[in-house]
Symmetry: C2
Subunit: 112 residues, 2 copies
DNA sequence: CTTTCTTGCTACGAATATTGTAGCATTACG
DNA sequence: CGTAATGCTACAATATTCGTAGCAAGAAAG
């Protein structure tokens, strides 16, 4: 069994309405949240490798996001170390996976 | 024809790699970006109404995000005023629309 | 048991980003 | 004229993020 994040305090900033979509948009709208999920999409990564994958983002934020994502039930810390997606996290990741294709088309329309 | 945002400088923080998906994840990972797209999903809104919809977020950030989203080609300012999604923006919005259903299922698994 | 790795994680000052309040310039309506 | 909208900005207070350094614990090897 994988380690559980402290699931005590589940409040999320910006979710004043309580509507789950708002809570989710707020959580995903913090720096590195989307990126972390994206980098973990294929296989679990250790904290160091994940940091490298995320352009050497500071460990402070990474650790904070990782904790939040764990409390949300999207990410877990495996027994032998290394962060990976939970089944729920994998679902979420697949939900916005089409973003990849969209991004490619987007470039062709704007960036040249 | 709708007004164009200053499309001169198209750099985006965090996009050091140049991969469009990274640029997109970074842009969407800023505060209120996802929320703005979400609130505009049905119909254009004036800046004031949009602000109200976004929990009275400060006009400073809202204005900044709106400018970025306009430069990205996702949002436009209509002739008679009011912000709305471009066809491209609508596509993007639909891409992560399944997030709504996911959020509902998410609540039932965690929030109770 | 010490040395040498690696793991996850934290401290802390500096740099940025966001907030909250107030207000400007412009346009439209009477 | 006065009133009410629009998009947008200034600016100080606050919160978040960055960058660097390092700790404690575990595993592997000598």
């Amino acid at each position: 069994m994988a380690k559980q994040a402290g699931s005590s305090d589940h409040r999320v900033r910006g979710s004043r309405t309580g509507r789950p979509i708002m809570t989710l948009l707020d959580l995903l709208g913090r720096r590195w949240s989307l990126r972390i999920l994206w980098e973990l999409r294929e296989s679990p990564l250790t904290s160091r490798v994940l940091r490298t994958a995320c352009d050497e983002a500071s460990p402070t934020v990474l650790q904070a996001r990782l904790t939040e994502l764990r409390e949300a039930g999207f990410v877990e810390l495996g027994d032998g170390g290394g962060y990976g997606l939970t089944p729920l996290g994998r679902e979420l990741c697949e939900t916005f996976m089409p973003l990849h294709r969209f991004a490619e088309r987007w470039r062709s329309k704007t960036g040249a």
